[in-house]
């Protein structure tokens, strides 16, 4: 299609990157392969990447199985993967764990959506107008270091222990870092693309809405993806106090009854759901911004 330069070459094919792997790498010895894995910035085929990831996960489970079935640790402290899996199935089918998952997801959705609805406009204003940066930066910079979990007692005094309190914890945990990340994403839009719009006759409004906003949207969606992870963390903390249902309270109750397998099953479920959210965001990113891929 393009006569002078190949299209969509991988970034690693540029001359300043580490050399790309040769096509016929199979003929190379294992030690060659290993030394390539250890070369900084060397490329990896997607297939190799998947295999290595799978090996990493498999090693983790192998270690877990070895430690538990070898009798090095009592099942009370660390049950086997099989025991945890069995437990998870019975939690889902008989203990109504899905209701807990839904309760947590609902709080995350509420807290995260409110946080995003405020953080996106404020962050965009901070990143693009020195006025708003000067206005908000000192407050937000300090607030970011105040742990949302430390606000829980205050929130209980203000709001009691109902849903509003839990959603508020998620909101506080997400809002400040998200705002600052969005401000940062907005402020890093290249000066040249802004200037080129001005020289084409764009007004301040047009530069803001037609250049700065679309230019920073992909990074803003990335900031949302990263901070939704925080929401998963904070919802569990919020539920440790006065929740009827929720993954956090399920984990806490399991601990009270010394059901180690249920504690671990709960923790792993949070991790898996977090990864699913992350993947969802990545897929949406590809759909929304096809011009980046």
């Amino acid at each position: 299609m393009n006569p002078d330069v190949p299209l969509r070459v991988p970034a690693s094919a540029s001359p300043d990157a580490a050399p790309a792997s040769p096509v016929k790498r199979d003929r190379r010895s294992a030690s060659h392969k290993l030394s390539r894995y250890l070369r900084p910035r060397a490329s990896l085929s997607p297939r190799e990447g998947w295999i290595i990831s799978a090996v990493g996960v498999a090693l983790f489970f192998a270690l877990w199985i070895a430690v538990t079935s070898g009798g090095f640790i009592q099942p009370f402290f660390l049950p086997s993967p099989a025991a945890v899996a069995t437990r998870l199935v019975s939690m889902l089918y008989t203990d109504g764990f899905l209701i807990d998952i839904w309760a947590s997801a609902y709080r995350i959705l509420g807290g995260f959506l409110i946080a995003a609805a405020l953080a996106v406009p404020i962050g965009v204003l901070m990143g693009n107008f020195r006025f708003f940066q000067a206005l908000f930066e000192p407050l937000f910079g300090a607030a970011r270091y105040m742990p949302a979990s430390a606000f829980i007692p205050l929130l209980i005094i203000w709001l009691g222990i109902d849903e509003g309190q839990k959603i508020s914890v998620v909101f506080l945990g997400v809002f400040f870092p998200l705002t600052l990340m969005i401000a940062d994403a907005s402020s890093t839009v290249s000066k040249d693309i802004v200037n080129s719009a001005y020289t084409l006759g764009a007004s301040s409004m047009q530069v803001f809405f037609r250049v700065l906003i679309p230019a920073s949207t992909p990074a803003i969606v990335d900031a949302l993806r990263i901070t939704v992870g925080l929401a998963w963390t904070y919802v569990i903390v919020a539920e440790l106090v006065g929740a009827q249902r929720g993954m956090g309270i399920a984990i806490l109750q399991a601990q009270r009854f010394l059901l180690t397998d249920q504690v671990i099953a709960g923790i792993i479920s949070v991790g898996v759901l977090g990864v699913i959210t992350d993947v969802g965001f990545r897929i949406a990113h590809r759909r929304l911004f096809p011009y980046m891929y």
Binding site: N195, S196, T199, G201, M292
Partner: protein, 251 residues
């Protein structure tokens, strides 16, 4: 029509010590309509700063700039700019990039479309109209940037090392393409470069700048015949211009 007059312009920036540091010392310049002028000098000598003042992106500390008899106060579509790093809008297709200026200036869709397709023909990228910038090579992206700047029919084209990031062969082809476009469009061009050969090859006039403070210390008129092709760099005349300019730069 588009004569550019730089009248006693100097530009100072606030330095970290608080005292103003002069980037460009008082400069006077009169560029005739339709001239192709190259600003040549080592990096940091104030070429971009001077160009940005003509573009209206930086304010002069003293003096005035007149384009076509009107004082420059702001950036505007009468002065198209092309930057070294292409600065295309990655979320717009090639055609929408070229139509960006016409669109924000409220041109009707048919006229926008006609203009963008004409310009994409001119730079040889018609079949890439619906691609995104990411799919294009550096040279092609810079052709889009030129087409985008030309869409508003600027009286002056301001170019800041536009071919600085390209490989030698692409760069040479781009120079020929630019001269071809300039011959058809007859806009005034102010072109910044630090490459002596590029300056002599392109220009009617080469202005040599020196640093600290930035100032124009020589003004060469290049009388090489036009149209020029890449072979001209081997000619005796070209070599002699190069010797003179190089001599000036060494001082």
């Amino acid at each position: 029509m588009a004569r550019v007059v730089i009248d006693r312009v100097s530009i100072a920036f606030q330095s970290s010590e608080g005292v103003p540091r002069i980037a460009v010392a008082e400069t006077n310049l009169d560029i005739a309509d339709g001239d192709f002028v190259c600003l040549l000098g080592p990096s940091g000598c104030g070429k971009s700063t001077l160009l940005n003042v003509v573009g209206g992106l930086v304010c002069a500390s003293t003096g005035v700039i007149m384009v076509d008899g009107r004082e420059v106060v702001d950036p505007g579509p009468d002065r198209g700019m092309v930057f070294q790093n292409y600065s295309l809008y990655p979320w717009l297709t090639i055609r929408d990039n070229v139509e960006f200026g016409p669109k924000i200036n409220g041109w009707p869709p048919e006229r926008r479309r006609e203009t963008s397709l004409d310009l994409l023909n001119l730079v040889g990228l018609r079949e890439f109209a619906s691609e995104y910038p990411k799919a294009l090579s550096g040279g092609m992206r810079q052709r889009v940037a030129i087409a985008r700047a030309l869409a508003m029919e600027p009286k002056v084209l301001l170019m800041d090392e536009p071919f600085g990031a390209l490989d030698a062969q692409t760069r040479s082809r781009m120079q020929e393409l630019l001269l071809d476009i300039w011959a058809r469009r007859k806009t005034t061009v102010l072109f910044v470069t630090h490459d002596i050969e590029e300056a002599i090859f392109l220009a009617d006039r080469v202005l040599v700048m020196s640093a600290q403070p930035g100032q124009i210390m020589a003004d060469f008129r290049i009388e090489l015949p036009r149209p020029r092709s890449a072979d001209i760099v081997a000619s005796e005349e070209f070599t002699s211009y190069r010797r003179d300019v190089l001599h000036m730069l060494r001082h």
